[in-house]
């Protein structure tokens, strides 16, 4: 009887969560998974007690005999977990967290606990318990639905690393048992079907199917709650009047996180159909307009150039100082920013974090790539768009910092991080997130990717780049694209817009940038001009110029020597400027190690520039991209004079 009731309940639940629409008129995704969770926060014991009903639908053509789920919170269970080993941080027992499953059954009541065991698919670390595998009593045939029920207690860690608590601040993420992604053969170019359910690593994020979440959260009355869902109802808790219960619903998102803190001030704003909610410490009121402006700019830019933001709600959490470990993280319809009290307006750090984290609603929220295996597809692509948004709205040269004494574009910070890194050639972008050698994950997945994407835009043009992302969105929204799927879109759109101008496809580009470790470095080695009677009119020795007497009708033969120092070969423009003011823009396929260009002119060459508009941002040295025999030393002299004056003032301050 009990089994029958549970089965009936499961069918009703699946029907309700997968079909019924509350937020959007039509489902945005195929809803392979769904969750209904009843959670209660215990602020004294720092636990979340949960009851979860969830389902996974086998939408593949394969029979699946097991299911795999993430227990992310177990990453904080011991210092020997893969996460803690990777982070290199030894923590004492007071900061540890865990998830304990007390009850685990199928929808029909079959106890799954005896059929469950931990697996470590990535590193075989037996101390890691972040993934469980459950062999089903009956294999799930194509079209079958596997319904599960789990009772669990999540103990939050006290040192917030994305999730946890400090005092009465709670950020609850990665807190419930969560299905991995079953990938059938062919999906993301897999040769055979199987679960994609990786362990939790310190250098990895997540991968999940788009789901519907019906979450009931019970917290003390005085707590302000924010979540990735829409608030449907709020009432006093039935069994304890000092608690309140809120019903939330989120549709077609890949993760569900929430926060609770009595100290939040709540602000709201509207952008077209999107209601924006901001939770922020009250003392940061002066940051509210900055946060709203940032997200509205991001919404506008991404809607225009990628695709519409499909949800009618989004929540920004700007955590207090004590919860800063939760800052800068994304959960699609909820994300965390990072500002501080009175942070000067010329530092666009809060804007940058907000734009970046919101951008993840697209790049892995809507276009749900595998963050474990292809971190460049979310972090790198998202950083590329963050740069474009920051520099578009806050200034081409001042997207990151805008002070009269110092300005910096957002795109400069990414490129400089890549160019400046001594590890820039250690690995390629084709790495699992946890496989990057120490100190290279961020530089490679964020910075290098953003830099080569900017380079790609420099080559194929801004409009074609936007077309690529519009098509990528149209084709892959609410699905799981892989690297080859993105490259396919690039190939098609470039061919459509430019024909064979860049060859049959763009493989040559991705082989060198995404899959390669080579450097791109072009150099103007030299230039010289001869009067046509072959007598040399310009001799350059030790920076001294000896000019021949220019004749009005002289004809000069000029030779420009270009050099490819790096391994990467990209097409570049070469601008030759003559003393009479004429300019000649040439193109070079960039393949030869040394290339000599021959030009005829009525005037001698004054300077030569490779890539005059700095489109090839992968070039690791812009300094040698140009050549002139009389360098303008004015800027260096000016900096030197200022340096002297500042140093004099500085030293004088130490003298009594």
């Amino acid at each position: 009887m009990k089994k029958n009731l549970l089965t009936i309940f499961a069918v009703i639940f699946i029907t309700c969560t997968s079909g019924a629409q509350v937020i959007n008129q039509n489902p945005l995704s195929s809803r392979i998974t769904g969750y209904k969770i009843d959670a209660r926060l215990d602020p004294v014991n720092k636990t979340v007690t949960g009851k979860m009903e969830a389902f996974w639908v086998n939408q593949t053509g394969e029979t699946v005999d097991n299911i795999q789920l993430h227990l992310y919170m177990n990453a904080f269970r011991s210092n020997l977990s893969t996460f803690n080993r990777g982070s290199g941080k030894v923590t004492d027992s007071t900061v540890l967290g865990r998830i304990d499953i007390s009850q685990f059954t199928l929808g029909d009541g079959t106890d799954l606990l005896p059929l469950t065991h931990y697996i470590q698919p990535d590193d075989g670390n037996l101390h890691d318990s972040t993934v469980i595998q459950v062999f089903l009593p009956q294999a799930a045939k194509p079209g079958d639905t596997v319904s599960i029920y789990a009772g669990f207690v999540t103990k939050l860690p006290s040192s917030i690393r994305r999730t946890g608590y400090t005092k009465d601040f709670f950020f609850v993420a990665q807190w419930f048992p969560k299905f991995g992604v079953y990938e059938p053969a062919g999906m993301r170019r897999r040769t055979s079907g199987g679960w994609n359910c990786h362990q939790f690593h310190s250098n990895s994020e997540f991968y999940a199917d788009h789901s519907v979440y019906d979450v009931t959260i019970t917290v003390p009355d005085n707590y302000v709650v924010g979540s990735g869902g829409m608030l449907l109802d709020e009432a006093d808790c039935q069994d304890d009047a000092s608690y309140k219960t809120q019903k939330w619903r989120a549709e077609d998102i890949v993760d569900y996180a929430w926060t609770a803190w009595p100290g939040y001030a709540q602000f709201t704003d509207q952008w077209r159909h999107v209601k924006i909610t901001l939770l922020i410490p009250p003392e940061r009121k002066d940051q509210v307009s900055r946060q709203f402006t940032s997200i509205k700019n991001a919404l506008e830019y991404l809607t225009m150039n990628v695709g519409p933001y499909p949800w009618p709600h989004v929540t920004i959490v700007d955590p207090p100082l004590i919860g800063s470990g939760a800052g800068g993280m994304e959960y699609t319809t909820l994300f965390t920013s990072s500002s501080t009290w009175k942070i000067p307006s010329f530092i666009h750090m809060p804007e940058m974090v907000t734009v970046h984290e919101f951008g993840h609603a697209y790049f892995m929220g809507i276009l749900a790539t595998n963050e474990f295996e292809d971190p460049w597809m979310d972090e790198g692509i998202n950083t590329f768009w963050e740069e474009r948004i920051l520099d578009h709205y806050w200034g081409e040269r001042s997207g990151m910092i805008d002070h009269p004494a110092f300005r910096m574009a957002d795109k400069s910070s990414a490129r400089s991080s890549y160019v400046y890194s001594p590890d820039r050639q250690v690995v390629s972008n084709k790495e699992n997130s946890w496989s990057y050698p120490k100190g290279t994950y961020s530089m490679m997945s964020y910075m290098k990717t953003a830099t080569w994407l900017s380079t790609l835009m420099g080559i194929i043009g801004e409009e074609t780049t936007n077309d690529i992302f519009r098509e990528y969105y149209r084709r892959w929204a609410f699905k799981h694209p892989g690297p080859d799927d993105f490259i396919d879109v690039v190939n098609e759109v470039v061919k459509k817009n430019h024909g064979d101008k860049f060859g049959p496809d763009m493989k040559w580009f991705f082989d060198q940038t995404l899959y390669g470790t080579g450097l791109c470095d072009y150099k103007v080695a030299d230039f010289r001009c001869f009067r046509q009677d072959t007598s040399i009119t310009r001799i350059i020795e030790a920076d001294t110029i000896v000019r021949g007497k220019p004749l009005k009708d002289s004809l000069y033969k000029c030779i420009v020597d270009l050099e490819r120092i790096g391994e990467v070969m990209l097409p570049v423009e070469v601008l030759v400027h003559f003393e009479n003011g004429n300019e000649n823009l040439l193109t070079w396929d960039g393949k030869e190690r040394i290339k000599s260009l021959e030009l005829f002119s009525n005037s001698e060459i004054e300077w030569v520039k490779i890539d005059p508009d700095f489109k090839i941002r992968m070039d690791v040295n812009f300094i040698n991209n140009s050549k002139v025999y009389v360098t303008d030393r004015t800027p260096v002299r000016r900096m030197s004079n200022k340096f002297i004056a500042f140093m004099q003032l500085f030293i004088n301050a130490f003298v009594l």
């Binding site: 300094i623 800027p635 009594l656």
Partner: protein, 301 residues
């Protein structure tokens, strides 16, 4: 009234000591150039023959600096050590020249002569160094007590409000700046006393500095505070001008150099103004402390 009289006298005396100020300026220019010229040479070499300097016309460009590569990395890594050396040399230079300057600020000092300036600088170097070190030590302790300790405590307490740490920093720095003036005043009085003595005795000078500071606290402190406010306002003005002014021509660059050095010289004048004002106030107080001169009586026939 004594405050303004001393300030006025101090300013006049500082202007009279202009040759000493120029020598001090030359000294600073020389030591800073020891670092600035190689740095300038480094950038000139690194950017030589390139049009990239176009991107530096509006100021520093982070990408250009990054592109310089390993050379810039070495420069950055060597900079902190160079800065410490510069500060130490600057302090020693300041100690040396302040002997000559304090000596030339006395009311009894005659016309400025370079020989007597250097003579006094050499004579008072060691006592002035000890006075500077003692006052500096007290100021460092003050820094630890007033700034480092409260900030460490508030950070360790895991305070919920983020206003608290920031306001603590602001108030601590303000308190430090105000309280440290007292010990700078002690050092000034000590040095003013020392140059009025034939025999160097730094500890006696420090004793005088403390006694005179606290005996005439309100007059002395408020006088020094006025100078400090003017100095701070001027320094901020200089920083404002220098950060925003971006000349693009050779003539403009030269004007920038002249102006920046003129502004720095005036900043030195303001420092010597403080020396002069303290010296003047000391002399006024010394005169007040002298017993009244009795008019000799002419014996009656």
């Amino acid at each position: 009234m004594k405050i303004f009289k001393s300030l006025e006298s101090g300013f006049t005396r500082s202007l009279k000591a202009w040759k000493g100020i120029l020598l001090l300026w030359l000294g600073y220019l020389a030591i800073v150039s020891l670092v600035a010229i190689p740095v300038k040479g480094f950038f000139n070499t690194a950017l030589s023959g390139s049009m990239i300097t176009e991107r530096l016309k509006d100021g520093i460009d982070a990408e250009v600096l990054g592109d310089i590569g390993s050379g810039f990395r070495y420069l950055v890594s060597a900079f902190p050590a160079s800065l410490v050396v510069l500060i130490l040399v600057g302090i020693i230079l300041g100690v040396f020249f302040s002997g000559g300057i304090f000596s030339s600020l006395r009311i009894s000092a005659g016309r400025f002569s370079v020989r007597s300036f250097f003579d006094a600088s050499a004579r008072y170097f060691w006592p002035f160094l000890v006075i500077t070190l003692m006052a500096g030590l007290i100021i460092i302790l003050l820094f630890l007590v007033i700034i480092v300790a409260p900030i460490s405590i508030i950070m360790a307490s895991g305070e919920v409000s983020e206003k608290a740490p920031i306001l603590t920093i602001v108030y601590s720095v303000a308190a430090f700046l105000l309280i440290s003036r007292i010990f700078i005043l002690v050092a000034d009085y000590a040095r003013a006393w020392q140059v009025s003595q034939d025999k160097p005795d730094c500890f006696k000078a420090l004793g005088f500095g403390f006694t005179r500071t606290f005996k005439t606290f309100f007059t002395s402190y408020f006088m020094v505070l006025i100078v400090f406010v003017v100095q701070m306002a001027f320094s901020l003005l200089v920083l404002y001008i220098l950060t925003r002014w971006k000349p693009a021509t050779g003539g403009g660059i030269f004007l920038l150099f002249i102006t920046s050095q003129a502004l720095f010289i005036f900043r030195l004048v303001l420092k010597v103004w403080r020396y002069g004002s303290v010296s003047a106030l000391k002399e006024i107080k010394d005169a007040e402390a002298l017993p009244p001169v009795e008019t000799p009586q002419i014996p009656q026939a």
